[in-house]
């Protein structure tokens, strides 16, 4: 659906001839746990001889092991606009996505240049999301009790000292 909107936007924007755009990713593999946020960083470069028009960058998540993916759950803003790039100029585009499912995924970014040029696609980022690590509430309980207890004792000691010398 978002790709469709992006394509429509593309059609409405004025054409800029022969602009060529490349998309690079900062890392090719990410291991994470379910629920964690991933910062996907890409670099969009105009490798052509002409300046580009305004660009649309879009992130997508594809499951490699048939896990259901709803992109809306992963990020609220998969599509970003990129200001026009002069020849040789680059722009950093990043997304914060939350790994909401455990599984193996490919995450990639697509840049839609203006006019009739082809889509530019980044290399995929291989993302392996492990099952959730659960911290037991019981593990936090000793700290939650001991720290106030120690400080309470400190307060008592100070008060006692004050009373003793009064």
């Amino acid at each position: 659906m978002r790709l469709l909107i992006a394509a429509l936007l593309l059609a409405l924007l004025p054409a800029t001839a022969s602009a060529t755009v490349e998309v690079a990713v900062a890392e090719t593999r990410i291991d994470s746990t379910v629920g964690a946020y991933l910062n996907i960083r890409t670099t969009v470069t105009n490798t052509g001889a002409e300046p580009t028009g305004k660009l649309i960058a879009h992130l997508n998540v594809a499951s490699l092991n048939d896990v259901y993916v709803d992109l809306e759950d992963w990020t609220a803003a998969p599509t970003q606009s990129v200001e026009p790039l002069a020849p040789g100029e680059s722009a950093q585009v990043s997304w914060d996505v939350q790994a909401v499912n455990a599984g193996v995924f490919n995450v990639y970014a697509v840049v839609l240049p203006n006019g009739s040029s082809a889509l530019a696609v980044s290399p995929p980022i291989h993302v392996e999301v492990a099952g959730r690590r659960i911290l037991s509430a019981g593990g936090a309980l000793p700290i939650a009790l001991i720290v106030p207890l120690l400080l309470g004792l400190a307060v008592y000691a100070v008060r006692r000292r004050l009373r003793a010398t009064a």
Binding site: R133, L135, S136, I143, L151, V155, V158
Partner: protein
């Protein structure tokens, strides 16, 4: 007073005041009591966060982020309150005149009190470390959370302590000073509770110009969203500007506003 004594006063006056102020804060019961209340709050939040990890979809980093944000916010608030009481409170207790009657410079008095107020932040930060550890262990986030808390918390605490001292120095009474300080704190922290402010450009600007929201957002970006430390440094502009501006204002205006009577225009 000998020349050597005069030299000692000039060189070490702030240290003597800071040491005494720290003793007053920590041995008269007020500091430990505040820290105890702080620990009770962090205990409650930590336990609830740990429970929520099981019941709900709360990721471990989110728990650490939640506790760190509360630790920094409340720690900074306590620092501000102590700073806001530092001068106006002494005026009301009648002990400030004796301090003004010593050869120690007004700047040294302010610096000594600033250090004492910051000692509360230091202690609050140390208390928060075990909570961050228990929630973050296993996901290699504890070190990052502690470092973020130390850096961002110290910058925010220092700016708020300096602002608190200015408020305390110019306030006509201790009540006014504490009320103004608390209002300021609420005004600065309230936007952190608004949902998704940085998604619009105006919202992002508001987050950036408020040192507290900017600092908190930076913590969230690094700790929760996995950004690098250098990736969003622009969010630290306003906290750094705030701390520099507050400290410079205190250094410049200190000698004029640190006086026997508070209030604008009083002699």
């Amino acid at each position: 007073m000998t020349a050597a004594a005069g030299e000692r006063t000039r060189a070490h006056g702030w240290r003597i005041i800071a040491a005494q102020e720290c003793r007053d804060l920590w041995l008269s019961g007020r500091g430990p009591l505040l820290l105890f209340a702080y620990a009770v709050l962090l205990s409650a939040v930590t336990y609830l966060a740990a429970t929520n990890q099981i019941l709900n979809f709360l990721e471990q980093r989110e728990s650490v982020n939640l506790v760190l944000q509360i630790a920094v916010a409340v720690g900074v608030l306590l620092t501000l309150v102590v700073a806001a009481d530092a001068i106006s409170g002494e005026r009301e207790r009648g002990t400030f005149e004796s301090l003004l009657l010593t050869p120690v410079s007004r700047g040294a008095i302010v610096l000594g009190k600033l250090v004492a107020a910051m000692s509360l932040w230091g202690a609050a930060f140390l208390v928060s470390v075990p909570y961050l550890w228990v929630l973050g262990k296993g996901v290699a986030v504890v070190g990052e959370a502690v470092a973020l808390g130390l850096v961002i918390g110290t910058v925010l605490a220092l700016s708020m302590a300096a602002i608190g001292l200015v408020i305390s120095a110019v306030s006509s009474s201790n009540k006014v000073s504490l009320a103004v300080a608390l209002f300021l704190m609420l005004a600065l922290f309230a936007p952190t509770q608004l949902p998704a402010m940085p998604t619009s450009s105006v919202g992002d600007l508001l987050v950036r110009i408020n040192p507290v929201t900017a600092g908190m957002h930076y913590i969230q970006l690094v700790l929760l969203k996995g950004h690098g430390w250098t990736q969003d440094l622009t969010y630290l502009i306003s906290p750094v500007v705030a701390v520099v501006a507050a400290v410079v204002a205190l250094a410049v205006a200190g000698p004029r506003i640190v006086r026997l009577a508070g209030g604008v225009g009083s002699g």
